[in-house]
């Protein structure tokens, strides 16, 4: 037992030393994801020119329709007529591209109440939109006044406002878990596949095989060193994202990292399987790309896989990176607990077992 521990420590520390001496690898592992995030943070900061307003009519009366038409014709807002209050409200709370929710109710034949709900923290300044809305209401009241020629201005439209506490989620909240899952995949898949095929080609693995070291111990040591590297990488990303990029962590950060470690194991396993199959780097590279590219585009790294056509979505929902990204996002964005992400974890576990079984079966010392 003690002998195994010494072998394990020797191998792990040697592997870590080798990793951190490879300056290119360190650069790509630690800074590449940050560059990615930087680019997407810039894109996401581009503000939309028009405020998006969801409108709920409760009774489709003439006054309601006229008022909404005035708003529509102003071309200042993007008006969407919604039928479902709950959906619209959820969209507002989750910052799903909705700035103001107008709930219009008719109090009597000649009066309507407009309740404007918005998020104070929304960077697209819905407050400005509310003032514009108020001025529209006033001029609408005046028009009505002139038309019916009354002596007092009737308060046909009353605008009330309500500030909503939202999660204030932005694109950065979407992209950070995606990039984190993605960089773990790249690290596990590529660094393991390349390191092992290189060791195989140069004979370093064979030389190791000449010592009494156990195959499993060697693989575990290599994997642990990669998990440590991945953990550091993810820690840097999370800290920078929380401090400087306005990333929100609504769930338990320990659970978040637990899921990251599980993801790390899965992708290291896949990397080992590739390394077992490939004879050298020239074979490892295309295979690793073939595995990673579809997941990079379809597993919800840069955009939600819900935007994909259903027949693709039905397939990609079973990919390991999809499970990982879904779990990470649910924890960070929605504060999901262990029980709520159990399906994703189960999916990851299955992939982990499959990958490791293949890796062990395909492993060759030379």
């Amino acid at each position: 037992m003690q002998r195994l521990l010494i072998q394990f420590i020797s191998l792990t520390s040697a592997s870590l030393k080798m990793y951190f001496r490879n300056k290119t690898a360190v650069f790509f592992t630690m800074f590449f994801p940050l560059i990615f995030i930087g680019i997407f943070a810039l894109i996401s900061n581009k503000q939309s020119a028009k405020l998006n307003i969801d409108v709920i009519y409760n009774s489709k009366s003439q006054i309601e329709s006229e008022f909404v038409n005035v708003l529509k014709n102003s071309n200042i807002f993007n008006i969407t007529v919604s039928n479902n209050y709950n959906t619209s409200y959820t969209n507002l709370v989750n910052n799903n591209n909705e700035d103001i929710l107008l709930n219009i109710t008719q109090s009597n034949n000649s009066k309507i109440n407009v309740l404007a709900m918005y998020d104070q923290l929304n960077s697209d300044s819905p407050q400005t939109g509310i003032s514009i809305l108020n001025s529209f209401a006033n001029s609408f009241n005046n028009t009505v006044f002139e038309e019916i020629n009354r002596t007092t201005i009737p308060q046909t439209v009353t605008v009330n406002t309500q500030s909503i506490q939202t999660k204030n989620l932005k694109y950065i909240d979407f992209i950070i878990p995606g990039i984190m899952g993605f960089s773990l995949m790249q690290l596990g898949l590529f660094s393991v596949a390349f390191a092992f095929t290189t060791m195989k080609k140069t004979g370093a693995l064979k030389r190791l095989h000449a010592t009494p070291v156990n195959l499993y111990l060697f693989i575990i040591a290599q994997s642990i060193s990669r998990i440590i590297v991945g953990f550091l990488q993810e820690l840097i990303i999370v800290l920078l994202a929380l401090d400087f990029l306005g990333f929100h962590m609504y769930g338990n950060i320990f659970l978040y990292f637990l899921v990251l470690i599980l993801g790390s194991i899965v992708f290291i396993g896949i990397g080992l399987a590739v390394a077992g199959y490939a004879k050298d780097e020239n074979q490892a590279a295309p295979i690793a790309n073939l595995i990673s590219l579809p997941m990079m585009f379809f597993s919800g790294v840069f955009f939600s896989s819900s935007l994909l056509p259903s027949y693709i979505r039905n397939i990609v929902q079973f990919l390991p990176l999809t499970f990982l990204n879904n779990a990470l996002r649910d924890i960070a964005n929605k504060g999901a607990t262990l029980g709520q992400i159990r399906t994703d974890l189960l999916g990851l576990l299955c992939w982990g077992v499959i990958a490791i079984v293949i890796a062990v079966r395909l492993f060759k010392w030379e």
Binding site: Q2, R3, I6, Q7, I9, S10, L11, A14, K17, M18, Y19, R21, N22, T198, M199, K201, T202, G203, A204, K206, R207, L208, H209, A210, T211, P212, V213, W365
Partner: protein, 254 residues
């Protein structure tokens, strides 16, 4: 103490229908330098790698210090040292770190500088293997095989690709190791190397043993069978000329 340290019995290696090693048996005595000679493809490396536990044995077995390679390969690996024909080492580590890594794998305490001194590489202690010359790399490979103070050392073509000075330097090191009581098995296709180093040689071709014996005896047998070299034997050859022109002593940088 048993005089025989290695006993190979009817060992066979087949790759599909091709027989690389064809039921070979031989013994190696403790403290011997035992050379395995033969042209490329004779089955030397396959034979060696079966004895080292690196390659599965199709049939037969080898006993090393009483331990069966077939049945207790990990125990065998603890008492042997190996230099492979072409070895890559982890590139980012320096010589001391590599020696410490391997010592860790054998769970033994070593003094890296002492081991490097054996192969005259103390001044390269902090270098990476790829920064060494070909001769230095081979010396380091031998040095690494000493990490677990093995009873038997297997050297697979330790001087192939080296220039004459570097080769002679390796010879000196091999002789020094033998002085410490270790048994050395090595393969080569340089005959003068075998003649110079080996106590006994085994000549192989096509997976079979053709002849085993002391180099001097083999030569005497040949001469007594009526063999004569076409040219009169000179007391020096071109290699001696080259060595004497480029320096008698082994150059430090090779």
């Amino acid at each position: 103490m048993n005089d025989i340290i290695i006993s190979v019995n009817d060992i066979t290696k087949k790759y599909g229908s091709f027989t690389a090693v064809n039921g070979i048996s031989f013994n190696v005595k403790r403290g011997e330098i035992f050379g395995i000679l033969g042209p490329n493809g004779a089955g030397k490396t396959s034979l060696l790698e079966m004895m080292e536990g690196l390659r599965s044995i199709t049939a037969g077995d080898a006993l090393i210090d009483g331990l069966s390679v077939k049945h207790s390969v990990n125990k065998v690996k603890r008492i042997i040292g190996i230099q492979l024909q072409s070895t890559g080492f982890f590139e980012e580590l320096n010589l001391i770190e590599l020696l410490n890594l391997y010592a860790g794998l054998y769970d033994v305490k070593i003094n890296p500088m002492e081991l490097l001194h054996e192969v005259e590489l103390e001044d390269k202690a902090k270098s990476q293997v790829r920064k060494l010359s070909g001769g230095q790399q081979q010396r380091f490979a031998i040095c690494l095989s000493l990490a677990n103070t093995p009873k038997v050392i297997f050297l697979d073509e330790p001087t192939t690709g080296l220039d004459p000075q570097a080769r002679r330097h390796v010879w000196g090191i091999i002789k020094n190791i033998r002085e410490k009581g270790m048994t050395i098995i090595f393969t080569t296709h340089y005959m003068e190397e075998a003649e110079n180093l080996c106590d006994r040689v085994m000549i192989m071709d096509h997976g079979d043993v053709i002849k085993t014996g002391k180099p001097v005896e083999l030569i005497e047998n040949l001469i007594s069978s009526g063999f004569k070299k076409e040219q009169p034997v000179l007391s020096a050859n071109l290699e001696d000329v080259f060595i004497s022109l480029t320096g008698h002593n082994i150059r430090e940088d090779i």
